[in-house]
Amino acid sequence: MATRPARSLAAQERRFALALLVPALVVLLVTTTVPLVYLAWTSLMRLDLAMAYLSGFAGLDNYVKMGSDPRFWNSLVLTGIYTASTVILQVVIGLALALLVLQIPRGQALLRVGAILPIVLAPVVVGLFWRTLVLAPDFGLVDLVTRSLGLGSHNWLGDPDLALISVIAIHTWQWTPFAFLVLLASLATLPPDVYEAARLDRASAWQRFRHITLPLIRPAVVMVVILRTMTALSAFAAIFAATGGGPGSATEILNLYAYRTSFTELNLGYGSSLAMVLLAITLAISFLMFRLRRAR
């Protein structure tokens, strides 16, 4: 007698859950999965809006073309450099600053307000600020400093080598506060008694960090790395506003190359195949990192 109501309760719970879940799943299916299937299809097409009469099925031509496309390989290398350097800089600076700030008894709220500012700004506006007020030759903030120090003026966004460093700096500037805030919150939850014990054992500051702090905040660090990697792989607006991918293709990460191919050169077929590669890289990295997170 007692099992029947329990079983019907479970059935009722199942029906209720599905009713709540189905709208979201249907919307996600229609708005994300179906378009991706279409993308896979267009990546097999010759689809050039500038030469529409040539459009048609092309098999794997677009993918074969990548092999001998130096601009594609260049964009892959730049994506690697851009992603690795911005993520490492954000985590290292963010963690160092969080460890420092944790030891300041007062004024943390003020620091938080300051740190939130870059996060809430639109990346395109950040790119514009840096292009004009911060990095412009002669009158930008950076040049005002280098000029007054006698180091002269530099074309921070116009020189190919400097431009890559500049867009990395812009990204790091905007998103380090994210790593800082999350790691600060994570550090604040650590139990103080562990540290007391370690101190009694005369563990050095480095030993305490290496063997107590780091293992305890590892999940938060890994999560920050995953999220920041995803953002860096899809970085667009700030670079687009600051350099447009240039000069030449000096700051053209894969995301920008796919965009320019599709919407500047209107070659949507090849653009689709480039987007497919970005998609594959992004999903592969997130899959690997989530496995890494669960390991240990």
Partner: protein, 280 residues
């Protein structure tokens, strides 16, 4: 010993202060620039004391390059996105966070997977389809693609809030034969009010700040502020003061949100990042 502590604190404060100044100063500099004349902007050495002018704001509000229509476009798209997202995400997050049903892990993974998709992969199919439907440059078209980043994010953030509500609350309400929907509405939702506020803020912020979808799928009718700001720089190359004034207006809503909701924002970033979801 005490003196050592004092110096230590001073050094810490200075380092932290410099760190924050690096983040705050460029924005304050832009704010100052927005009140300068174009001539003062290009003064060397820079003028610290200048006669503030409202001319730039007059220009971007009521002048020929007014961004008011763009502010309206952004408001419409961001509001539509936020309302739709919350309506769809809240029930789904409740099911994912608290109910037992088959294929729960799989559905959770699917939502997480959609959150990892690069926007670049979506924009080409959307462009082609919306063009065919004649729906480029419409609020509907832009709102639908905004759901692709807002929905997975909102679902995962809300799941983490739903999980924090003690399960006894539901059991008690269900024993009273309150019905599942009534329990959700009257018992559980009030418990996650804070989470709903945080999620709403984040979804609105992300939609307001979006650029790539808006620049490709928008046009003359639907042109959000982020696109307008970008066009500003290519048209008004050297008029930095005007650009700064426009940027300040465009970013005023999100800066105000950031300022007044700072506690919530920190919590939202942390919950999302520490527990699993959350992509900004």
């Amino acid at each position: 010993m005490d003196r050592h502590k004092y110096w230590r604190r001073l050094v810490l404060a200075v380092v932290a202060g410099v760190g924050v100044a690096v983040w705050v100063f460029p924005v304050l500099w832009a704010l100052a620039t927005s009140f300068k004349t174009e001539r003062d902007v290009l003064a060397y050495p820079p003028v610290w004391l200048f006669e503030p002018t409202l001319a730039n704001y007059r220009e971007v509000l009521v002048g020929s390059s007014s961004i008011v229509p763009n502010l309206w476009s952004s408001l419409v798209v961001a509001t539509l996105t936020t309302v739709l997202t919350m309506l769809i995400a809240l029930p789904a997050a409740y099911a994912l966070g608290r109910l037992r049903y088959p294929a729960k892990r799989a559905s959770g993974f699917y939502v997480l997977g959609t959150q990892m998709l690069p926007p670049m992969g979506l924009i080409i199919p959307y462009y082609l389809v919306l063009q065919k439907m004649g729906a480029l440059d419409t609020y509907a078209g832009l709102t639908v693609i905004y759901l692709t980043f807002a929905l997975p994010f909102a679902i995962w953030l809300m799941v983490s809030y739903f999980e924090d509500v003690p399960f006894e609350m539901e059991e008690a309400a269900l024993l009273d034969r309150a019905g599942r929907l009534r329990t959700l509405w009257y018992v559980i939702l009030p418990q996650v009010r804070g989470g709903i506020a945080v999620t709403t803020i984040f979804v609105f912020l992300n939609a307001w700040n979006e650029f790539m979808f808006a620049v490709v799928l928008g046009g003359n009718r639907v042109r959000t502020v982020t696109v307008a700001m970008f066009n500003f720089i290519s048209v008004e190359q050297t008029q930095w003061a005007k650009v700064a004034a426009g940027a300040m207006l465009a970013m005023l809503p999100v800066i105000l949100i950031g300022f007044f909701a700072q506690r919530h924002i920190v919590k939202g970033l942390t919950v999302g990042a520490v527990k699993g979801g959350g992509r900004r």
